[in-house]
Symmetry: C2
């Protein structure tokens, strides 16, 4: 692999849009994962033609190109593990079209999720596949990771909202994929393949997204459980009966303590809390789903409290869940919250068992772990709290991560629900997908024969996340 010629990059995008001093490069060397690596240059193209020219140059000169949104990814997807060019898409942030009659919008990749929803709101519609990081996450990044979030239980993940896209391929050519219509059966659905491809197949320069009507009513409540197992059985019962919730979130006892410690929210310190929400245009329908969820939860020992239709009240109920991620950082003075083994999906019937297993594995390996997440879509989040200056903690974390993923595979789960693979999860991913890795590599070669696009990620990530890149957190090794 070669290094980029800065002058050439400046010619393509303008000198003001190329960064190459070490301070800037340092910033662009990490994301929200534990990983770190230095790029050779950062370019910020403003239009499609510039992306095309950049890729033509990089492809001819064999220079790695790592497409990047806001860097809120948690697995090292945008860490430039082989150096080269970080292609920052955030200048391409126009909402190109909101077409209400045809129920789609077209956006550039650098549009922030919340900004899209702000633009859609006056029309009474919203883009539903929103992750928790919507305040900073770009649509391009969300598509690259097949992001999902609290409302994906009802509205699906990013893949369910992407109708089509324009992509610049490794050789600089521009292709239009998918359609603008609700259904399409015109050949290979390459736009679906792009969703979740983590910047390894091309650079997204435009996306056509569907949206949905904003419901008139939303009801949210908190279901308290004295036993995590009971909460797990309630989850399986509610999902198995097809109760149409718009949110079903699990918060475990570690997470409850963390939030209470950091924020004094006064969450009930029970063994597990489920947050339930239903939405709709008609109050009776919302009540029906809440009632169905309440009945099934009560059958499994849960107690529904604080049910409210009021937006302010709902925001208050959700606050603990919303602030969980920052709260975990304040859990203890000596421990750092790391995005390790941070999101997997397991079948509904294994939710409680998985949460218990996570606690057990954490304890055995000398780290602290939470279990929470969008259990309505099968998503189980964790964070590993650890002393990042201690090599023992790092070793314990590594063992815990390996054990957790082995367990998740054994119950028919998958390595990532919504954060993607990047570098951090590559070992587990390679084990889970062992029989289709060659196929993925063949697809990668078909799209990017010179392997310039985000190289050494996913199936090609080096073994062992701890040594794959520098780490943002310093261990005393």
């Amino acid at each position: 692999m070669s290094k980029p010629d800065i002058a050439r990059l400046q010619t393509i995008v303008g000198p003001e849009h190329v960064k190459h001093d070490p301070a800037d490069l340092y910033v662009y060397g990490s994301d929200s994962s534990v990983h770190r690596a230095m790029p050779d240059a950062v370019v910020r193209p403003g239009k499609v033609e510039e992306v095309q020219e950049l890729l033509r140059y990089a492809n001819e000169s064999r220079i790695p190109v790592v497409p990047r949104g806001s860097g809120s990814g948690m697995c090292g997807q945008v860490v430039p593990i082989q150096g080269g060019i970080v292609l920052d898409t955030k200048r391409m942030n126009r909402i190109l079209e909101i077409n209400l009659a045809d129920v789609y919008c077209r956006v550039e990749p650098g549009v922030i999720d919340d900004d899209l929803n702000k633009a859609l709101k006056p029309h009474g519609v919203f883009y539903p596949a929103t992750p928790a990081s919507s305040r900073i996450a770009t649509i391009g990044g969300e598509i690259a990771n097949n992001a999902s979030g609290v409302r994906s239980v009802k509205y699906g993940a990013t893949r369910e909202s992407v109708l089509g896209m324009k992509v610049v391929l490794a050789d600089g050519s521009l292709v239009t994929l998918g359609a603008r219509t609700r259904v399409e059966a015109s050949g290979y659905q390459l736009e679906r393949l792009f969703v979740g491809s983590e910047g390894t197949l091309g650079v997204l320069v435009e996306a056509t997204l569907s949206f949905v009507r904003i419901p008139k009513y939303r009801a949210m409540g908190m279901v308290l459980f004295d036993s995590l197992d009971d909460a797990g059985e309630a989850i399986a019962a509610v999902m198995g009966k097809g109760v149409a919730l718009s949110m079903l979130e699990l918060v475990d006892s570690v997470a409850i303590r963390a939030v209470n410690t950091a924020m004094d929210l006064g969450l009930p310190e029970v063994d597990a809390i489920l947050l339930v929400e239903a939405d709709g245009m008609v109050k009776e329908a919302v009540e029906y789903e809440v009632e169905a969820a309440r009945e099934l939860c009560e059958k499994h020992g849960g107690k529904l409290t604080q049910l409210s239709y009021d937006p302010a009240e709902r925001a208050r109920i959700f606050l603990g869940r919303k602030k969980l991620f920052p709260a975990l950082s304040k859990f203890s003075d000596t421990m750092v919250s790391t995005a390790l083994a941070d999101d997997m999906a397991v079948p509904y019937s294994r939710m409680a068992e998985t949460a218990r297993k996570i606690h057990e594995i954490a304890e055995r390996n000398g780290v602290v772990m939470t279990a929470y997440g969008h259990c309505g879509s099968g998503c189980m989040h964790t964070k590993i709290l650890m002393d990042t200056a201690s090599s023992e903690s790092w070793e314990g974390a590594q063992r815990a991560v390996a054990e957790i993923y082995e367990y998740v595979r054994s119950v028919g789960g998958t390595t990532s629900a919504e954060h993607g693979i990047g570098i951090s999860k590559a070992d587990a991913f390679k084990r889970e997908k062992a029989d289709s890795l060659d196929l993925m590599r063949a697809v990668k070669r078909a799209f990017d024969p010179n392997n310039i696009l985000n190289p050494q990620k996913l199936f090609d990530a080096p073994r062992g996340w701890l040594t794959a890149t520098d780490l943002r957190y310093v261990a005393s090794r």
Copy 2:
């Protein structure tokens, strides 16, 4: 390409599961399209290992393999254009698992759609991506074509219901793709690429599908319009406002006449009928959507009639639409109903204009055409009624098809909504997807380097459907 050794095939699947006399081969030489070609052998494997051995043999010997369900496809997808082996999947028809708690089922490819729904019904759930041919269509065929149907406006197409699958690749290896969970972000979503790949990338041997709760209430009504344009504006208004219908069907005046002629149903002979259905667990919610649809339709000159929640009454209302396809065959003694230009998708705002354009193009080219379909998902169906013994009619049909697809492209539509490409639509498809055909070919090579799987379809179909294969209908040329 080589011809298969019958004895070898008999060794693999048993002599009783290999057909090679001309009468059988003739039957397996066509589907529901206009095309025809003779295979060299038909094999009916009963298990995964047999499929693997068949593909290993075919791949080593360079013998074409065409996977086939029930042959209800309309574009020649399973017509063995290069001879070789037709791989009939219908013996592999077991429902392997119905997992209610985890909300998925696993089925073999030869399971008939209606049979799956019969098995799901006692559990209060259904598989929603059902096409009109559900009485005979296999799940494997539906996945190969990304089928959709009357309820896809609410529940999505096949691609939205497929969580994962097992596939035998061209070299005989077995791979597991996707997951069993509602969300997944673990690398390339190859299972999504398989949906709609028309048997060109591998042989599906197992699918993991999601299902949904059967609603307690369904209300259906008929909205009458004196003007097709008004009906079109009503469609755009209803969809643009996000009215959550579970069905929105258009029937044009030609179709109304055809049904009345064939069946004496006494449909009102207006310019256009919209069938609307809403469903839900709560009657108030169903009423809300029906009322919203009624209001918008009335604003555009429509009149809602025959609204009913009664299953028998609903079936009667839907009968005209349901029987439209056979009714068209009886439209006239001298005309045959052909699946040409039979399904495209266009933006909602272009529905009426498209229907009018279809009528105009038909008239100009001396054929009769209907416009109907699942307009709630953007799907516009047509049939060309023509004298198949007349070469003039064939020429007119060819011109009409070309003009229609050119128009559909010009308004941002796509060649196929749900029937796929096969042979019939390859010319239009290649024009529409010109910039991504090379990418599709590269993907095909990555999966099937020897090009044994359903060769000469999609991007590789020969130019000109009239000469691509023999035709089932004889023209006096």
